[in-house]
């Protein structure tokens, strides 16, 4: 009797196992069909998608940083072209823009730095576009 009871219990466990496997099988049917059509296991495309998503995130952050750097460079150029602080002078008419020396030493370098920052910005945008294209390819 004890052997029979153990057998029935094992049988019941097996049946429950099959019921559970049948119940969870249909939850991600669309994904399963997609993977079957590709003929790959889920792990590989998941890793590829996660890697591609991380690359786009990194590229987006890098682009934002380059834009911030561009804004700083723009501000530095604007400051370099500002008139000198003449608040202590008795007559504001005496306030003048930067001297020729300051223009050579500050304004032109600031304009060059701004140009470099804009180039870096464009470069970061191009990299974002490439990462995005790779992500779209991995998603298909």
């Amino acid at each position: 009797v004890a052997i029979g009871i153990i057998g029935v219990v094992l049988l019941a466990i097996g049946v429950i196992g099959f019921v559970v496997s049948g119940a969870v099988a249909g939850d991600y049917e669309a994904e399963e069909k997609l993977l079957d059509a590709k003929g790959v296991e889920a792990e590989q495309p998941t890793a590829e998608l996660n890697a591609a998503t991380d690359r786009v995130k990194a590229a987006l952050d890098a682009f934002r940083d380059s834009v911030d750097a561009g804004v700083s460079a723009h501000n530095r150029f604007t400051q370099a072209t500002d008139p000198r602080d003449c608040s202590l002078l008795p007559n504001n008419l005496l306030c003048q823009g930067p001297t020729a020396e300051e223009i050579q030493n500050s304004v032109f370098p600031a304009a060059d730095a701004y140009a470099a920052a804009v180039d870096a910005e464009q470069n970061a945008l191009a990299q974002l576009g490439q990462a995005l294209a790779a992500l779209k390819a991995a998603r298909q």
Binding site: L10, E31, T46, L60, T81, V107, L135
Partner: protein, 126 residues
């Protein structure tokens, strides 16, 4: 009589024992297969769930990326114009042509307003 009866009992196998043993064997096989099937199904489900999450994240990131690229291209166009104006402004200052310099500054300020709006869009993206 008693001795004969004992002899017969020792030689015979109870049909209930046979049924119980058969049930045990079948039960063991079914249990192994069933549990294995459940474990594999749960693992597959987890992998598929991870894949579905990865696809969902990828779609969201692709949408963000598209918006960022669209805003970024406009921003870059503004900054390229602004960069060229900065050079013109520096030249105007060097030439002591204040009117031209002020004109350049006004154009740069208009571009900065556009850039700031695009920058806000870019920063608002998750």
């Amino acid at each position: 009589m008693s001795a004969r009866f004992d002899h017969r009992q020792r030689g015979a196998v109870s049909p209930w024992l046979v049924i119980a043993l058969a049930l045990l064997m079948i039960g063991a096989v079914v249990a192994v297969l069933g549990v294995r099937s459940a474990v594999v199904a749960v693992q597959d489900r987890q992998e598929l769930a991870d894949f579905a999450d990865a696809r969902s994240d990828a779609s969201r990131m692709a949408d963000n990326g598209d918006q960022a690229v669209a805003a970024g291209q406009q921003l870059c166009n503004c900054d390229i114009q602004s960069r060229d104006l900065a050079r013109q402004g520096a030249d105007a200052l060097a030439a002591d042509d204040i009117d031209r310099f002020n004109g350049v500054v006004n154009q740069m300020n208009a571009l900065t307003d556009q850039s700031n709006q695009l920058l806000e869009q870019l920063r608002a993206l998750p």
